[in-house]
């Protein structure tokens, strides 16, 4: 954070470009998440589930006869949820009931601060690093923020003064606690292989296609994606909001915009999880077999600066394309698998994933010793 808050001497040399860069990056990530992904994913979820089930999905909302593949249904949902009655049940803890949806949404956005969406580029003599906060503890920060996001659900469950909500909140707490441990241990292998926790360094190390995380840590990848699904609270692991058992779990008593915020939090978490997956296991912004230098040579006719801009744009596009691919796969899993039972989730977390991740660490260490 020393880069962000550069000490008492206000406006040292070169601060203005960094400030502009910082603002640009924050605005970019914010628009991508809130402006593009949050509304788009509602549409993607509806349409993808429909096509997977041989249906056509929402397609009838129109403006002057233009339906745009049903994209406008997202808009209608937004309008409706905005104008719906904002309900607070009797006996609820009102301030906490208001606060909970915000606590759920904000961490999902904050976690994106450490995920690099591009490499380092030299633009007109100004070093640009396409990550909002290049922290040394990168992945741990993501975990920390994810653990904070638990509180949104837990508080929502408690503040609603509803037994189902409370049970949902308790389930969230138990599930998050169990899977965070396993998730952290599943990633230790990756840290050992790359020798760093800094996500930008991990991205740079994956320039070689065969050094992508998924090839170096296949077991770690499977364990991580399982834990990530559990952290996201979506269907195979949606015991906190299990409709058949808990009505709607921790957000049973939420209506209108606050319910929409929980919904949005779920989608944003999905984007964040895809971001972490891409950054750690899928080469980040790297294109297979095409290094940044080769790409820069390809765009060499534009001159050194514009070539760098072109490379940057290509890398950012590749990164978001990979995220879209992962969102597609996560959605496939969500619409394919049935829900686990509560005890099965706990058993999977503590008795299978945790020992497997420990074994993964052991094997990784042994292999690293042998290779040396």
């Amino acid at each position: 954070m020393a880069d962000i808050f550069p000490g008492p001497d206000i406006f040292p040399a070169g601060m203005l470009p960094s400030l502009v860069e910082m603002m640009a990056k924050i605005i970019f990530i914010f628009t991508m998440n809130m402006g593009v992904f949050a509304p788009l994913l509602g549409w993607v979820e509806r349409k993808q589930s429909a096509l997977m089930q041989d249906r056509i999905g929402a397609n009838r909302a129109d403006i002057l006869g233009f339906t745009v593949f049903g994209l406008l249904h997202t808009l209608t949902d937004a309008i409706k949820l905005l104008t719906k009655e904002d309900f607070i049940p009797e006996g609820a803890d009102r301030p906490l009931h208001y606060l909970a949806p915000f606590i759920a949404v904000v961490p999902a956005l904050i976690a994106f601060a450490v995920i690099p969406f591009g490499g380092q580029y030299d633009l007109w003599g100004h070093k640009t690093n396409l990550v909002i906060a290049d922290l040394d503890v990168g992945v741990l920060f993501v975990f920390a923020v994810a653990s904070i996001s638990t509180y949104g659900s837990v508080i929502a469950g408690w503040a609603s003064n509803n037994n189902w909500s409370l049970l949902g909140g308790v389930r969230v707490a138990a599930q998050m606690l169990s899977y965070e441990v396993a998730m952290g241990l599943a990633l230790v292998g990756i840290f050992m292989v790359y020798g760093t926790l800094r996500l930008t360094d991990i991205g740079v190390a994956q320039e070689n296609f065969l050094h992508w995380g998924i090839f170096l840590q296949p077991l770690g990848f499977i364990l991580f994606i399982t834990c990530a699904l559990a952290e996201n609270k979506r269907t195979p692991f949606d015991i906190p909001e299990a409709e058949s058992e808990l009505i709607a779990g921790y957000f049973t008593e939420y209506s209108g915009l606050k319910f929409a915020m929980f919904w949005m939090a779920e989608f944003l978490e999905m984007v964040t999880i895809s971001g972490v997956l891409v950054a750690l296991f899928f080469g980040g912004w790297q294109i297979p077999f095409v290094s940044g230098a080769a790409l820069a040579r390809l765009f060499g006719f534009l001159g050194p600066n514009l070539a760098q801009v072109a490379v940057m744009l290509v890398h950012v596009a590749v990164f978001w394309a990979k995220i879209l691919l992962w969102i597609f796969i996560l959605m496939l899993i969500r619409w394919t698998l049935p829900r686990f039972r509560y005890d099965q989730v706990m058993k999977l977390g503590w008795k299978i994933i945790l020992p497997l991740s420990l074994i993964n660490i052991l094997v990784t260490g042994l292999v690293m010793l042998l290779v040396k």
């Binding site: 999905g57 929402a58 909302a61 209608t76 309008i79 719906k84 409709e243």
Partner: protein
Amino acid sequence: MGVEVEDRNPEAALGDSVILSTVDAVIGWGRKYSFFLYPFITACCGMEFMSVAGPRYDLDRFGAALPRFSPRQADILFVVGTISHKQAPILVKVYNQMAEPKWVFAYGACVCSGGMYNNYSTVQGIDTILPVDIYVPGCPPRPEIVFDGLLKLQELVAKERSSKWPRGAAPYVPKAKI
């Protein structure tokens, strides 16, 4: 409130070629295509409801296919199946728990009027206990009829004025405490 001027719709006069949206029209448009439904399924009509929601007829095309099992988040109460007097207080409770704006969809003959069960145990049409917005006859109604009713309800919702809301609790107060 004066006399309500009905159907002086300039858009219709201009042949739907322009949008002169008042806020109500925009809200009506949004609500019309975004029904989150609460399926209150008690009897055999439920099977036909599954067919309506399934791939052949696909309720989702109308934007009405996100069943929310919490009444707070639902917009439209699908009353599907016979409502007995024992069940009526529960139905009223669910209706009262729903957040405004809310609509009630009477699905099938039993719900519309008691249907076959003209006897002591069955509610003779849920309009005796709730305000109903659309009646769909049939035992059970064919999916086409349901869609016909849904389109008709969409028309109603699109034309609604915000002065209609909130509608308040159901007129019927059950004696039994549940």
